[in-house]
Symmetry: C2
Subunit: 401 residues, 2 copies
C-alpha cells in the first residue's frame, strides 16, 4: 500500500480548479488535497468542495505538519514568491506553475532548494502539458544541444491563428482568447511576449545551464501587428508566429530572444495552431525533435502539475547539473539579425542603425524595410520600436530547415 | 570532479560506431569506452580505435571489475539475450537497444533487474532519439492515458514516403533504405511490421503496465502493397502509413495492433515522412501530445543511448510502477475494426468473416472490400491475409481527430 501524498494547494483559479478535478480522477496517484488557500473566501467556485477545505490563511498550509507537498498556482507573482520561498525555507517541497515568478527569481530559488534540501518542480510552467523542462534536464545532453525554439504561448498563438486562418480582427480574437480562459489575466503577458520570455528563461537554464534575467532579453510581441503585415506574410505563403528561441551561435556563445517570425509551411511550427504549443529541440546528433501539445488551459496544465506531484513520490528534483559544467556558453547579443520592420510615420530607417538594408518599400499606406541589424541595437532601440505604428518580424535563419 | 563511467560496449555496427563517436564528443558525460566486444575481430571498421580496445571474448567485459555499465547494441537477438541476462545476473547495469530481444523477454528481464538490484535501460529501443519510454514511465500518468499511436519504424516509413511522394517503385525504395543504413539487416523486421510490434510491446508496458507477447498481437506489414492501393489512397487525398497503436477501448480493456492505415492530412502523423518517427500520446486531460524525431540511424540512436548512460549517473532505473496498479486494463482482441482489404485472386469475402460489408469494388484489375471484422478474426485468418495478392489497411477511428 502506497503512502498518500497530502497536498496543500495555493490558488483556485482556472488551473487550481483543474488540479482538484485531475487529482480526483487519478486514483493511482494516491494524492489528496488536504487544504486549499485562496485570496477571497467569498468568491463563488465552479466546483463543490467539502466544508473546511478552503482557507485564506497561508499558515494553515505552511504550518500544517501533515502536508507533504505544496502545489502553488496563484495568479500573482509576488504572492507566489512569498508562498514558494516560505515553503522552501521550511523544507517543504513545492510544485509551481508561476513562470513569471520563477523566471525572475530562479537563482535564489535554486539556492533555497540546496540550502534547505528540498525541491521545487515546475514543468507545468513551460508549455503546459508538454514535458519540455524534464526532457531538457534529463534527456538532452548539453554538449550536443544547438537550439530550442518554439511557440510557447498558447494565447497569442490562438489570436494569430484566428487572425491568420479565419480573418478575424485582432481585438475580437483577443477577446475570444480571454473568454476561453487561455489568456493570462494581464493580457500584455501574452501579447507582448512576456509569458513566452519567462518560459524561455526557464528553458535556457535547463537547456544550457545559464540563467539570463528578463531585462537583458529582447522581447517583442504582437500587439502592433497590422493588416499590412498579415497581407505581406500571406503573399509570401507564410504565417506570422510569436517565436521564442535560444540558439548556440558558436561553441562558446548563445543568444536568445522573443519576436514574431515569418514561418514557411515547410517548418514544424507552421502547423502549430490555436492554443497549441510546439517546441523544436535541435541537437548535433539527433537533428531535430519536435514536441507538440496543449500549452494552456485548465486540465492540460493540471495534468502537468500531476506529473510533478508523482515525480516527488520518488524524490525527484532538478539537479541543475548543466549549471556546473565548466564549458557553459556565454550569452551574447552581439549578433546580426535579419528583420522586417513595418512602419507608418516613425522614421525607422534613420532611427535604427541597420548594418545593411536589403529591401525597402514605401507607399501611401504603409512602409517596410528589410535589413540586418545587431540584436544589441534592437535592444538599445526598444523604446522606438514600441511606437504603435511599428511592427518587427524576425527573418533570421540560424539553421537550414 | 565527477567519477568517470567505464563502459563495456557490445556491438560495433551502425549504432555501435555512432556510440563511440557520440561519447567522444560529449565531454560533460565523463564516460569512457573501456572495451568493445565484437563477433568478428577481422572485420574492417570505419573508425580508428586504440590498440587492444576490441575483443571477441564477452568475458573480457563481463568479468572486468572496472566496468560500471554495459551498452549492448548487438544485431542478433539471441546473442543480445545471452549478454544482457549474463550482465544483469552479475549485477551490472545495462543499456540496450535490442528491441526484438527486449520485447520477447521483458517479464524475465524485469525480474532479473529486481532480483539482482540492477537496471536495464532501453529508451533507444523505441523511436531512436525520441524519449518515448522515459516520458511514458515518468510523465504520463496511467489513469489518464487513452492511446499511444504512431509511426515507430523509420525504414518502412522511408519506403512509403519514397513510394508515395516520389512515385518510386517499392523494390527500389527498399534497396535505398538499406543502403542508407535505416533498414534492419533482416528487412522483414521493418516491412512486415515486427520492428514496430516490438517497440509497441515495450511502449505498452510503460504506458499501461501490461505485457503482451508478440505472438498474441495482430501484425501486418507493407510488403504486399500495390499500385492499386496507392492510387486508392491518393484519390481520397490520403497516405498509407504503417501504424502501431495501443488504445484503451473501455476503462477495463485495451487493444493493440500493427497495421497499415489510411491517414488524412488533418492528422499529425500525415506529415511524418522519410525516416522520421512520430508518436501521438492521448490523455483524458491533455488531449493529444505529439513527439516527432529521427527514429533510425547511427547518431540519433547513439544519442539516445547516451541519455540512458547519463541517467545511470544518478542511479535511474525503470520502476514499472504501472505493473503494480490494481486496475490495469486487460488486453482484448474482441473488438470490431473497419478495414479495407484489396485482393486479386484470393476469395477474401468468403474467407474472412466480415460482420458487415459496407463497400465492395471489383474490376478486371483489382478488387477491394471495406467492412467490419473482429480483430480476433483477423488474427485467426492471418495466414490467408499473407497471400501475396492481399493487402489490408485499417480505417478504424477510435477517437475524433
Amino acid at each position: 500500500m502506497e503512502k498518500t501524498i497530502n497536498i496543500g494547494l495555493f490558488g483556485l483559479g482556472v488551473v487550481g480548479t483543474g488540479i482538484v478535478s485531475v487529482i480526483a480522477r487519478a486514483k493511482n496517484a494516491h494524492a489528496v488535497i488536504r487544504r486549499i488557500c485562496v485570496r477571497n473566501l467569498d468568491k463563488p467556485r465552479s466546483i463543490e468542495l467539502p466544508e473546511g477545505l478552503i482557507t485564506d490563511n497561508p499558515d494553515d498550509i505552511l504550518l500544517d505538519p501533515e502536508i507533504d507537498l505544496i502545489v502553488e498556482v496563484v495568479d500573482n507573482a509576488e504572492a507566489s514568491y512569498r508562498i514558494v520561498t516560505a515553503a522552501l525555507r521550511r523544507g517543504i517541497p513545492v510544485v509551481s506553475g508561476s513562470k513569471a515568478m520563477i523566471a525572475r527569481h530562479l537563482p535564489e530559488l535554486i539556492s533555497l532548494q540546496r540550502q534547505h534540501h528540498t525541491a521545487l518542480l515546475y514543468d507545468a510552467s513551460s508549455c503546459g502539458s508538454i514535458p519540455v523542462i524534464r526532457n531538457l534536464e534529463e534527456y538532452y545532453d548539453n554538449d550536443l544541444l544547438l537550439e530550442v525554439k518554439g511557440i510557447l504561448n498558447g494565447s497569442s498563438n490562438y489570436i494569430l491563428s484566428r487572425v491568420f486562418d479565419h480573418g478575424e480582427p485582432y481585438r475580437q480574437a483577443l477577446k475570444r482568447a480571454q473568454e476561453l480562459g487561455f489568456a493570462e489575466s494581464d493580457p500584455s503577458f501574452d501579447i507582448e511576449g512576456f509569458d513566452s520570455l519567462f518560459k524561455l528563461i526557464i528553458i535556457t537554464v535547463h537547456a544550457l545551464g545559464v540563467y539570463v534575467a528578463p531585462s537583458e532579453i529582447f522581447t517583442y510581441g504582437i500587439s502592433t501587428i497590422h493588416d499590412a503585415d498579415i497581407r505581406y506574410a500571406r503573399e509570401k505563403g507564410m504565417k506570422i508566429k510569436l517565436v521564442a528561441q535560444v540558439v548556440k551561435i558558436s561553441p562558446e556563445t548563445f543568444t536568445m530572444f522573443v519576436m514574431p517570425e515569418f514561418v514557411s509551411p515547410s517548418r514544424y511550427i507552421y502547423s502549430v495552431d490555436d492554443e497549441y504549443n510546439g517546441v523544436v529541440i535541435r541537437g548535433e546528433c539527433y537533428d531535430r525533435q519536435f514536441m507538440f501539445g496543449k500549452g494552456a488551459g485548465s486540465l492540460p496544465t493540471a495534468s502537468s502539475i500531476l506529473s510533478d506531484v508523482m515525480a516527488r513520490r520518488h524524490g525527484y528534483c532538478y539537479e541543475y547539473k548543466k549549471m556546473a559544467y565548466p564549458d557553459r556558453p556565454a550569452y551574447t547579443t552581439d549578433i546580426p539579425l535579419k528583420v522586417y520592420v513595418r512602419y507608418f510615420d516613425t522614421p525607422v530607417t534613420s532611427l535604427l542603425p541597420f548594418q545593411r538594408i536589403t529591401e525597402q518599400y514605401t507607399s501611401d499606406e504603409n512602409n517596410y524595410v528589410i535589413g540586418e541589424i545587431l540584436l544589441s541595437d534592437l535592444i538599445a532601440c526598444r523604446r522606438q520600436l514600441s511606437a504603435p505604428d511599428v511592427f518587427v518580424t524576425n527573418i533570421t535563419r540560424f539553421f537550414e530547415e
